[in-house]
């Protein structure tokens, strides 16, 4: 690799960028795998409702389905902003 690099005008190492991007997106997609298809839409609609009362960011809602023995549990968590709650967005 060293010799080749010397001969060429050192190209940018884009393979590393590709690998990092893949690592992140693949792990994210794996964690949401197997969950129902309606989750993204549910998340958007819930966000819209919550936003009527509190201004929260898009990524403040975390929603996932977990298996607990026989049944599935829909787990929803909303991180509220630090300042006074109740201020409408």
């Amino acid at each position: 690799m060293g010799i080749l690099d010397f001969l060429k005008a050192r190209p940018k190492n884009t393979a590393n960028i590709a690998k990092e991007r893949l690592r992140i997106i693949v792990s994210q997609e794996r964690s949401s795998r197997g969950s129902p298809d309606y989750l993204p839409l549910l998340r958007t609609e819930l966000l819209a409702v919550i936003r009527k009362y509190v201004h929260v960011e898009l990524d403040a809602i975390n929603i996932q389905v977990e298996r607990d023995g026989e049944h599935e549990v829909l787990e929803l968590s909303v991180a509220l902003p630090e300042h006074k709650p109740g201020a409408t967005g």
């Binding site: 690799m1 010799i3 080749l4 690099d5 060429k8 190209p11 940018k12 190492n13 884009t14 393979a15 590393n16 590709a18 690998k19 991007r21 893949l22 690592r23 997106i25 693949v26 997609e29 794996r30 795998r33 197997g34």
Partner: protein, 270 residues
């Protein structure tokens, strides 16, 4: 015992059909009785790569709809007596393939004493791709060292581990192997292409074989001769190695180092 192997990828254009043709031919060269089936309904292409496009009379959908018998529809390879091709239909009706129908055809091939059934999956994750993998005992996931292909492969690996008969019957996911195609060691060396290690790390699976990017792949498809039959081609030789590994043999990787480095490697390595 018949083994059903699906060749799949998610992304299109990565080399599924090229791989299916070489895999089926390579297994036949080992004396196995092999059938290779094109699941790409509407976009038949395996026949061209196998060089039997002018001999297609009946196709997979005809067999499923019982318009022709399996025997009438299997096209015997010109080069190997023990290799048969089942072409995809040209119909635009994507619903032409049914789970029961595909299962029946596979069972009939098993009863006919085939050792291997190679299922050439279409791109995407729709019905054809789903049915190509559904009955598989093993999977060969074809991946290019490129972001979209790697991501799609991960998606396919997820489906293999859940949406297959193997998984549904409680045996766990379909055992899958990665086949890295269109690999260019020079570009990997200069940091412009994902390396074997990068792909293995992201997907969490070892690579079974690496097929170098080579002009011989295009000239083989131009002529309708599976590239594995080109003894002078690095890509063809890499397919020979990959199939030997698939059958349990241990073989060192070849053609995975840039030319100059390869010489050094050969001097100090094996």
């Amino acid at each position: 015992m018949t083994e059903t192997i699906v060749v799949t990828s998610g992304k299109g254009g990565v080399g599924k059909t090229t791989t299916s043709a070489s895999l089926a031919t390579g297994l036949a060269m080992q004396g196995k009785k092999v059938a290779v089936i094109d699941f790409d309904v509407g976009l038949r292409n395996l026949d061209l790569i196998m060089g039997c496009e002018r001999r297609v009379v009946y196709d997979f959908v005809n067999v499923i709809h019982q318009e022709a018998t399996l025997k009438q529809s299997l096209i015997r390879d010109k080069r190997h007596d023990n290799l048969y091709v089942l072409a995809a239909s040209q119909t635009r009706d994507k619903e032409a393939l049914t789970q029961d129908g595909v299962g029946r055809v596979l069972d009939e091939l098993k009863a006919d004493g085939f050792d291997y059934i190679v299922c050439d999956s279409p791109a995407g994750i729709e019905k054809g791709a789903f049915l190509a993998m559904y009955f598989a005992d093993r999977a060969l996931v074809v991946v290019n060292p490129e972001v979209s292909s790697v991501r799609d492969s991960d998606r396919i690996l997820g489906l293999l581990s859940s949406k297959t008969r193997h998984a549904e019957s409680g045996k766990g996911g379909v055992p899958a192997h990665l086949l890295l195609t269109r690999y260019n060691p020079e570009r990997v060396g200069s940091g412009q292409m994902l390396s074997i290690g990068d792909v293995e790390e992201v997907l969490g699976l070892p690579v079974l074989g690496v097929i170098p990017e080579h002009d011989s792949v295009l000239s083989a498809s131009n002529q309708g001769v599976p590239v594995i039959l080109d003894a002078t081609s690095n890509a063809g030789q890499a397919y020979v190695d990959a199939i030997a590994r698939l059958l349990g043999e241990e073989r060192p990787m070849r053609f995975t180092e840039a030319a100059k480095k390869g010489l050094f490697k050969r001097m100090f390595g094996s």
